[in-house]
């Protein structure tokens, strides 16, 4: 089955397919091979962002060693002791909970109500009775100035794109690492109506709702929009030579994030433009919600991780013919990354939604 990693390695998988077909003609066969007989220990995994002026929410899990006897079964570690400190004398303990995503994401959410302060260095220390302790330092960048200059619908190669021009006003005093991403928030829209004295939810009684709508007997419906906090990534493009994306890939490569280090724009007001394919977020039958353009200033360690992550495809298969992509984290004694983020975000609503559905 074709996998996304194959696509990102455009050209290579088909070369290999030809080669494999050729090999099969020349006596090719597959055979199990012994995994390294080593006993690497599982490690604590920390994944998340500490965002300035936001509460603390990260997720934690544990890794699986690739070795003989290991099993691809993630077990979220319970009873992790997670402590967030900041000089001078600030200590906060994070508590875990259980949400619907644990099964899919293999991690538990950890949080605390305190808000993260910008331009501060936090230390996250995690211990567990069966796992080696993990710690990481997270620098929260200070406030920065950026804005969206304009947006436009443009047609390129017959494709309707949203062009977003962004001005970043770099202060020139510190080293900044900027990240631009486009996400779509998936909101839930549901209505309630009363029929024959009974209160109904539209999502739970769609057939009744539809029949009443058809017969023009539908009473007033009160619509509610809830925001469960789920997002979808919108792949984003750039043709800006100063971005890391064009060092790593191409103007034609779909990026998760646009990465721009300030070393090439230091102290300037710099305007860059990114493109998002509107067909991805304007879909009559797709999920509804605003498109959010996020402009972030992130910690250097997080920026380094994201550079590797941009090349890495999470669902990629591993084989020895492909060059490994190393995603470098900063969790000492563990794995993953906790990014320090100062975030600005701009929302646009493109979806059209009618009460009559």
């Amino acid at each position: 089955m074709l996998q996304v990693s194959d696509i990102l390695n455009a050209g290579k998988w088909r070369c290999q397919a030809v080669l494999l077909l050729f090999c099969l003609c020349t006596g090719g066969c597959t055979k199990p091979l012994k995994l390294p007989d080593i006993k690497p220990q599982q490690q604590i995994v920390l994944l998340g962002e500490l965002t300035a002026n936001d509460t603390v929410r990260i997720r934690a899990g544990q890794s699986i060693p690739v070795a003989a006897g290991s099993s691809m079964k993630y077990t979220p570690p319970v009873r992790l002791q997670m402590k967030l400190t900041r000089n001078p004398g600030y200590i906060e303990y994070l508590t875990s909970s259980y949400d619907d995503w644990v099964t899919l994401l293999h991690t538990l959410p950890y949080s605390c109500p305190s808000k993260i302060r910008p331009d501060q260095l936090y230390t996250l220390t995690v211990t567990h009775k069966d796992l080696p302790p993990a710690t990481c330092q997270v620098y929260i960048p200070p406030a920065f100035s950026a804005s969206i200059v304009d947006t436009a619908s443009v047609w390129v190669n017959g494709i309707n794109l949203l062009r977003v021009r962004i001005e970043i006003r770099d202060d020139g005093e510190r080293e900044h690492f900027y990240v631009i991403e486009g996400i779509k928030e998936y909101v839930e829209i549901d209505g309630r109506f009363t029929w024959q004295g009974v209160r109904y939810k539209v999502s739970e009684h769609e057939s009744l709702y539809d029949s009443l709508l058809r017969t023009d007997a539908l009473p007033d419906v009160s619509w509610d929009t809830t925001r469960p906090g789920n997002y979808g990534r919108i792949y984003i493009y750039t043709d800006d030579d100063r971005t890391e994306n064009l060092r790593l890939g191409t103007a034609q490569s779909a990026s998760k994030r646009i990465l721009l280090a300030d070393k090439t724009i230091n102290g300037q007001a710099y305007t860059t433009q990114v493109y998002l394919d509107k067909s991805l977020f304007v879909s009559p039958d797709g999920p509804k919600g605003p498109v959010i353009i996020q402009i972030k200033s992130v910690s250097e360690a997080y920026f380094t991780y994201l550079k590797g992550y941009e090349l890495f495809e999470p669902s990629s298969a591993y084989n020895t013919l492909l060059q490994p992509v190393k995603v470098t984290g900063h969790v000492e004694g563990g794995l993953g990354v906790v990014g320090g983020v100062y975030r600005l975000q701009f929302q646009y609503l493109f979806d059209r939604w009618y009460a009559t559905r």
Binding site: I7, N9, A10, G11, K12, R14, C15, L19, L20, L21, C23, T26, G27, K31, P32, L33, Q43, V45, L47, G48, S63, I64, P65, V66, A67, S71, M72, K73, W101, T107, V156, N157, G158, I159, N230, Y231, G232, R233, Y235, Y237, L246, R247, T250, Q252, A254, D277, S283, G286, F312, P314, S315, T320, L321, L322, Q323, P324, V325, V327, G329, G336
Partner: protein, 857 residues
């Protein structure tokens, strides 16, 4: 750096060594000596002096005729008095050095010499022969024919018998009288077309030099052929220690830890940029068109440059000057037809050879999904204008195509190929001076049509296509002059100018729904390379030979200017008996880089030039070796160390056509070093000839941006590499060959941990999120090893000779007889049910039989 400084000092010392041999006389000449006899040969008196006094006389036979009969006065009391009489007829001076007396020619002695020169050719087809030994036993001096069959040997005036010997030919003799300055035109008679011959040429030295190998078609045919494809590069893999295949079964060369792109491939002196055909199963070198191939993996002659690891210099046949004939070969994969003959008898000839795969036509009725084929054509003509002037014209063109279709649509099509041409003029200015002038043209092009990455509402898909191209054009004018002032002294100087046009990557067209406009940008640029070299081969005495050389190249364009001063030194010292110590130091500079994703012959390799940002690759290689003979067995042992700066690696697995103008950003440069010990031995046991080549080696790479800057083993860091080849003459017209190969497994990178995905955990869900989304963590680069590779190949040749001109050969055998599942690559999977991990290896080429028919007419 100390190593290099020491090397340069050693180099200067050896270069100046001859200046220090003029020691002053004294005590040794006063040593009492009473001759055992008064009349005898000069060499007998020298032996008598050594026996009775323990004093060794050191001299060169180039100025002493040791067979002269001398009469002493009978009154001589000392060594000095005896030598005064014995050497009265020679213009020499004497000097003492330790326990030796050096007999040194005085100024002007050379006027008494005479020069024997000429061409040596095959008697049957008048083909010039390369590397033929011309040896005069009385003087213990000799010469070797150069790449154009020319030799020159200056000796003292006298009458001599010279022996002409060459592997596979009957040894001939000529009587040299020095009475006239005629040019010799010697025809050697083949000994036996089926004769088992040594693969190692003895050249001028009876003991082989470990870093040099000469391969003839006979050597190539003796190798067991994968799918019947006899192949010069696979012969080198089998015959030379320190040389290994990339992936087993392919013809790629990994020489002493070098990258595949660090080998200089020449065809009639013209550089080739891509030599693989058909996934590396065979190369562009058509065995039927080959006359011989020279292979160097160290001690590089100064005329070669531009690559770091090895030189494969293949010479094609000139064409039969006597009659029209040829060969037809039919194997499982392709057919070859070779035709050659005279244009004007004994004056001009031609050779045309063509190959094409036909297996693609066979599979077409069954599937149209895959299409793989190649063809190539070699052509050559030569014209003997007169005894001193010859002209050669050669041409090669070849193309490969790989196509993969999904449904009715071609989703991948790649084509690549070389076209080269050369015109050479060789002239003998004087019997001592030979000049070769060559104009060469080389064109390499590569085209890839592939699916383009586009997006739609379901995420990324491949609905469009793009076409990328890469090409190199090179024109060069080369001059080579060889001067043979004395039998013990050969000077070669030369130079070249080449103009190259590079287009490393070009996005030609896009037919896809791609969001951002694609400008078909071209990053074409040109370079000029000027190269000069000089080399001096000097036999200091009958034991010591040194060959210092200089190669200087300047690579310049509007954007960059790189120069490479590349000293070379080879030295050998003959010990008592048939034992030879030799060593070499060479500095090599490579201005072109091969970006290689693999070495299994797929078109995923690109040549890119050095730029302002990407510096040339530079290597120092030092070797120290010993070779000898014992009871008919030949053996050698050689240690080497190679250090390379500027080796490159492609930063990501992405397509280089991605963004043409930024390709330099996707390349990392680092360094590599390798060292090892190579052993080789061969012996004839009656009808059985056995050879062994073993390599113990370590290969390392280091890049600042990889593996956190730590050194790691190179992918082909194979600790042990053992090759044993045996041929047996079963009957007059039947022989059998058995090869066994063992290689340690290659290094590979395996993730040590797997952990959940970042974006999912930020609640930014991928378009197609699954619970299998995870991140691999790599702790160390190339920290794991694949299983060792070994296999046994067996082949038989049955030949029937109807008459001198009609010979047919059936060859059959099997590759990997015991079906060893050697690993090509490995995938990591996990069991969906219990989650357990497993590595899965793909093995190919297990028990592959072959059959080949060859008709020579």
């Amino acid at each position: 750096m100390k190593f290099f400084q020491a090397t340069i000092w050693l180099y200067l010392f050896l270069l100046l060594l001859p200046l220090f041999t003029r020691a002053q006389g004294g005590k040794l000449l006063q040593t009492p000596y009473h001759p055992s006899f008064t009349v005898g040969r000069l060499d007998a008196f020298f032996d008598d002096i050594r026996t009775r006094t323990g004093i060794t006389l050191s001299f060169s036979a180039s100025f002493l005729n040791t067979t002269d009969i001398i009469r002493l006065n009978g009154t001589e009391e000392t060594v000095g008095e005896a030598l005064a009489v014995l050497l009265a007829g020679y213009k020499v001076t004497l000097a003492e050095r330790r326990q030796r007396i050096l007999i040194i020619p005085a100024v002007g002695w050379r006027k008494d010499g005479c020069t024997i020169s000429g061409y040596i050719r095959d008697q049957t087809g008048r083909e010039i022969l390369i590397g033929v030994n011309v040896f005069i036993p009385a003087l213990k001096v000799g010469a070797v024919t150069n790449n154009y069959g020319f030799f020159s040997l200056t000796v003292p005036r006298g009458n001599y018998t010279a022996y002409i010997s060459y592997i596979g030919y009957k040894t001939d003799t000529i009587q040299v009288t020095c009475q006239d300055a005629k040019q010799w035109n010697i025809l050697l008679q083949p000994a036996n077309t089926l004769q088992e011959v040594s693969i190692v040429s003895e050249r001028s030295d009876p003991l082989a030099e470990g870093d040099y190998l000469q391969v003839t078609p006979a050597d190539i045919y003796r190798q067991q052929a994968l799918l019947g494809e006899t192949e010069v590069l696979r012969t080198l893999q089998q015959a030379s220690p320190g040389v290994q295949a990339g992936i087993d079964g392919t013809s790629s060369l990994i020489v002493r830890g070098g990258d595949p792109g660090q080998n200089l491939y020449l065809l009639d002196g013209v550089p080739l940029y891509y030599v693989d055909h058909l996934f590396g199963l065979t190369s562009v070198y058509n065995t039927e068109a080959i006359k011989s191939a020279d292979f160097y993996k160290g001690a590089f002659p100064a005329r070669y440059g531009g690559r770091l690891s090895s030189v494969v210099d293949v010479h094609t046949k000139d064409g039969d000057m006597e009659r029209v004939g040829g060969q037809f070969t039919m194997g499982l994969v392709k057919s070859t037809l070779n035709l050659e003959g005279p244009i004007v008898k004994d004056k001009a000839s031609f050779m045309v050879s063509g190959r094409r795969t036909w297996v693609d036509g066979l599979i077409l009725p069954f599937t149209n999904q895959i299409g793989v084929h190649f063809y190539d054509v070699n052509a050559k003509g030569n014209w003997i204008i007169n005894k001193n002037n010859r002209v050669y014209i050669s041409y090669y063109t070849g193309r490969d195509q790989v196509r993969y279709s999904e449904g009715d649509e071609t989703s991948l099509r790649t084509r690549w190929g070389n076209t080269i041409a050369s015109a050479k003029w060789t002239t003998v200015i004087t019997p001592k001076v030979f000049i070769n002038t060559t104009y060469t043209y080389s064109h390499f092009e590569y085209e890839l049509k592939d699916r383009a990455q586009v997006i739609d509402s379901n995420g990324i898909s491949n609905e469009g296509t793009y076409t990328g191209a890469s090409r190199i054009n090179e024109s060069a004018l080369r001059l080579q002059a060889q001067w043979f002032p004395q039998y013990n002294h050969k000077v070669e100087i030369g130079g070249s100018y080449s103009y190259s046009l590079f287009e490393p990557t070009k996005l030609v067209r896009v037919n896809a729904r791609i969001p951002l406009p694609v400008n078909p940008v071209s990053n074409e640029f040109s370079s000029n390379e000027i190269m000069v070299y000089a080399e001096d081969e000097i036999k200091i005495d009958d034991k010591l030979l040194i060959r210092p050389g200089i190669h200087w190249a300047n690579w310049v364009s509007e954007q960059f200017n790189y120069a490479g001063f590349q000293p070379r030194l080879y030295a050998s010292y003959r010990l008592a008996g048939n034992h030879l110590l030799y060593g070499s130091v060479a500095h090599m500079v490579q201005f072109l880089h091969l970006i290689s994703n693999n070495s299994y012959g797929l078109p995923a390799d690109f040549w890119v030039p050095s730029t302002e940002k990407i510096t040339p690759e530079r290597a120092w290689i030092g070797t120290l070796g010993y070779s000898g003979k014992y009871k008919g067995a030949r053996y050698s042992m050689e240690a080497y160390y190679k250090h390379t700066n500027g080796v490159i690696v492609y930063t990501t697995g992405k397509n280089i056509f991605d963004h043409s103008s930024r390709w330099q950003d996707k390349i990392m440069q680092g360094k590599g070093w390798s060292y090892g010990l190579e052993l080789a031995a061969e012996k004839q046991f009656g009808p059985v000839h056995t050879s062994l080549a073993y390599t113990l080696s370590w290969n390392w790479r280091q890049f600042d941006q990889l593996n956190e800057g730590r050194a790691f083993p190179y992918r082909y860091d194979r600790r042990h590499n053992l090759k044993i080849a045996t041929t047996c003459k079963l009957a007059e017209h039947a022989n059998m060959g058995v090869n066994w190969t063992y290689m340690s497994g290659e290094a590979f990178t395996l993730p040590d941990q797997i952990y959940p995905d970042l974006d999912n955990n930020l609640m930014i869900i991928q378009p197609s999120v699954t619970s299998a989304d995870y991140t691999y963590n790599y702790a160390d680069w190339n920290a794991y090893r694949l299983p060792a590779i070994h296999r046994l190949d067996i082949g038989f040749n049955f030949t029937k000779k109807r008459n001198e001109n009609y010979i047919r050969t059936w060859s059959f055998g099997a590759f990997n007889v015991y079906g060893r599942p050697n690993v090509m690559f490995v995938t990591l999977r996990h069991n969906e049910d219990d989650g357990s991990f497993k590595l899965e290896q793909l093995s190919v080429l297990q028990l592959i039989p072959y059959i080949t028919y060859r008709l020579s007419f």
